[in-house]
Symmetry: C2
Amino acid sequence: MAETVKGLIRNLDNVSAAPVDIAGVKGVRMAVMIGREHQAPNFSMRQFIVEPGGHSPRHSHDYEHEVVITSGGGTVLLNGKEQPIRSGDVVFVPADHEHQFRAGEAGLKFLCFVPVTRNCGDPTPGS
Amino acid sequence: MAETVKGLIRNLDNVSAAPVDIAGVKGVRMAVMIGREHQAPNFSMRQFIVEPGGHSPRHSHDYEHEVVITSGGGTVLLNGKEQPIRSGDVVFVPADHEHQFRAGEAGLKFLCFVPVTRNCGDPTPGS
């Protein structure tokens, strides 16, 4: 029988973020805030902390992102062009759209939501 | 053939929020930031703006919430007790868990994510 799922409260500033060590990434750490490990059934909330000048990979994949910029600023590659982003912006990156997040001089923190599964059941990376 | 889905950037402070007029709600406005209208396939991001002393309904339902407190503070009823919340907190409300958000003296703003469908296909309210 499944373990009882519990409600959860955590603060963005009180988590341990681990370096993201994949190709095309520079100066990025990640912490799963709410995810499969908390028995989230549909989507996962990850926090990304990007050093000044750092960036996520330039890539696309078969699932979407919903993003909230929580601190700092920079640019996002979206709809084929670099666009400024700042705290309070939200970004929808549809599936199969090329994208890349870059931190400005003050660094960049954002939340990125993804489905917990893809391709009819495989775990989504980082979810 | 489906219309091409576009990437989207919006700011939390630059939207029109409409009053939430359902039983048990006091002083709450909502704006869908990313949802079905933007062809979000899996989950919807809604912004809630709660006046000082306002609150969401005390209720439960068959889908989960993932919440980010973006401004102000107050309390949330979760796991059977009132708990303080403040900017930067994230909250996971599992399905079928009773919950209620209450704004403190400074008001409360939060993002609440829900699946876009429930019960095998019906649209989730507000998604």
